[in-house]
Symmetry: C2
Subunit: 336 residues, 2 copies
């Protein structure tokens, strides 16, 4: 038999509407038990093979996949989510998103809520403050696929797709050195977070590889806001020996620095060169346009979703995978 | 008895751990029926009053509230979501977010998924393409609180908090007229959407009230992207009689226009004045900073969340409320 039985065939046989058959197969409370029994028996008799989606519904599965990010209002994260949806939507999955606000507690509650909502998988970029991984272990223990993107914890069997932050920091710094900069300041993020630590290490290595010693006065930890960038550049330019270049770990820090520098009569790039990180969309439209490190967020989202798709349904024995995406420096007028 | 019984008191009495008591009260499958019975009886005996959150869990409630927006990557929507979370998080609710991508079908699936996830309410900004409201009616019929923000449909009993788009369009245009502009172009969004229609109507009324006839050549419908803004300004400046001001219904359109104008040697504001709409954070940092219409997204989110809180729990007879937030023009260098 080449033609597959559909719900329409069952409906015809039983003189029911297709909607009623579908509801009966999906165990809808509006359908009587007797009708459900009849429909199920007939479906079996006719070798009805429901599609994957309907099957999932019958099994009480939600088709929901949870995505947890620190904040949705960073283009980097919202673009990753776009990549995830582009992979999962055609497969019948629906993405529900939660923000951890960089708080471990909220991340834990979020995971709990998503498990309550019967998600079939969780894709997460771990919050800055998360030390304890119990809430993440719980997901694994329940046999629900967990995938890390951008920021990960080391948990056995959990796959991840991250960005090569060390190389990103290295290349941004090397770019400035090759342009002749001799005092390169670094606006770092909170270095208890691996990504910022790695960018900082890349910066330090690039300096050393080019015969320069890192200067502690030129390294500042700031939050990812224009306001913090303004404070940081102010303190840097007040140094007896101010920097001739800034490598900022975030585009927002670079934005703040450039705003202050312009307002105070400095020319960019001739007085001071600036490189940001993440290639936020606004960087292209600034005056001057800001050089930045593209992190391929769309690809990161897609790869994370693919990892989920490989795991879902396999209750055991999937192989932990680690993908590291290479950096791509976008050179614009702020640095050259 | 002033001291309230806690799960620790019950645990002590029964020589169980607090975790076990909590699980038993929450009907966790890991706890045996006998233990559950014992714990429940003891809890009753000791006048245990669980807190609201635990009570909700016992009743099988999710504490999840669904928020549906067209896109998360517009600061306007992500700020509304921040406002919603600021109200709901302290009350023990967890916000899960979905994107409709401006597609009616996806909005319908989203609503279905959120209902599957047992959300206790849905706050939604309706997609641009949504004509049919069946999926929204279904939420109401299930007795689940539904609240509209920014973009609404007329459904009986559904409260809404929206922005006064007509006044926004009126005031932006009046501002440009008062600065002496005589040919004011309007980059409108898709006017099948009420908000863009209202902004356009405000623009038309302001012109007429000041003795000017709207000129059809100066009104263009564009998407909310910098690329569309660039195409639109190109075609406008190619007119025999080009405009001396642009009122764009979106900041992205204004951004594109300014980028093209600067690249083509025009001075802003002396050659042409530009006003955007939504007060996206980048507008403040552009060169020149862009005048824009602030829509109080944080307040919009808070009010929408308050409307939900007023309704939740009341299975019937809540009163439909409509809040309209007033516009607030932020004048920056791009216009004056």
């Amino acid at each position: 038999m080449t033609n597959k039985t559909t719900i329409y065939d069952i409906a015809n046989r039983l003189n029911l509407t297709a909607a009623t058959v579908s509801r009966a197969l999906n165990n809808n409370p509006r359908i009587s038990k007797a009708t459900k029994k009849l429909v199920l028996e007939t479906a079996r008799e006719m070798n009805y093979e429901p599609n994957k989606l309907a099957l999932a519904l019958k099994k009480g599965r939600s088709n929901n996949v949870g995505v947890v990010v620190p904040y949705i209002n960073h283009s980097f994260f919202s673009t990753i989510i776009r990549g995830i949806e582009e992979e999962l939507h055609p497969k019948g999955y629906h993405v529900i998103i939660s923000q951890s606000h960089e708080e471990e507690d909220r991340e834990g509650q979020t995971i709990k809520s998503l498990l309550n909502a019967q998600v079939e998988g969780i894709l997460i970029s771990v919050s800055r403050s998360t030390k304890n991984t119990e809430h993440l272990n719980e997901v694994v223990q329940k046999g629900i696929p967990l995938v890390f993107f951008d920021r990960k914890k080391d948990i056995n069997g959990v796959s991840s797709v991250i960005f090569d932050d060390y190389q990103g920091g290295y290349q941004a710094t090397k770019h400035l050195i090759e342009l002749g900069c001799s005092r390169i300041a670094h606006f770092s993020g909170d270095r208890s977070l691996e990504i910022y630590q790695d960018r900082y290490q890349g910066y330090v290595s690039a300096l050393k590889d080019h015969g320069k010693e890192p200067v502690q006065d030129l390294v500042l930890e700031i939050r990812s806001t224009a306001e913090d960038g303004i404070q940081a550049i102010k303190s840097q330019m007040a140094l007896k020996n101010p920097p001739d270049a800034i490598f900022s770990s975030t585009d927002y820090g670079a934005l703040g620095a450039i705003t202050w520098l312009k307002n105070n009569g400095f020319n960019i790039p001739s007085d001071i060169r600036v490189v940001g990180f993440s290639n936020e969309p606004f960087t292209e439209f600034m005056d001057p346009p800001i050089s930045s490190m593209d992190q391929s967020p769309l690809e990161m989202g897609r790869k994370a979703a693919q990892m989920f798709l490989e795991q879902v349904g396999k209750k055991s024995a999937w192989k932990e995978k680690r993908i590291v995406l290479p950096p791509n420096l976008i050179v614009r007028k702020s640095s050259s």
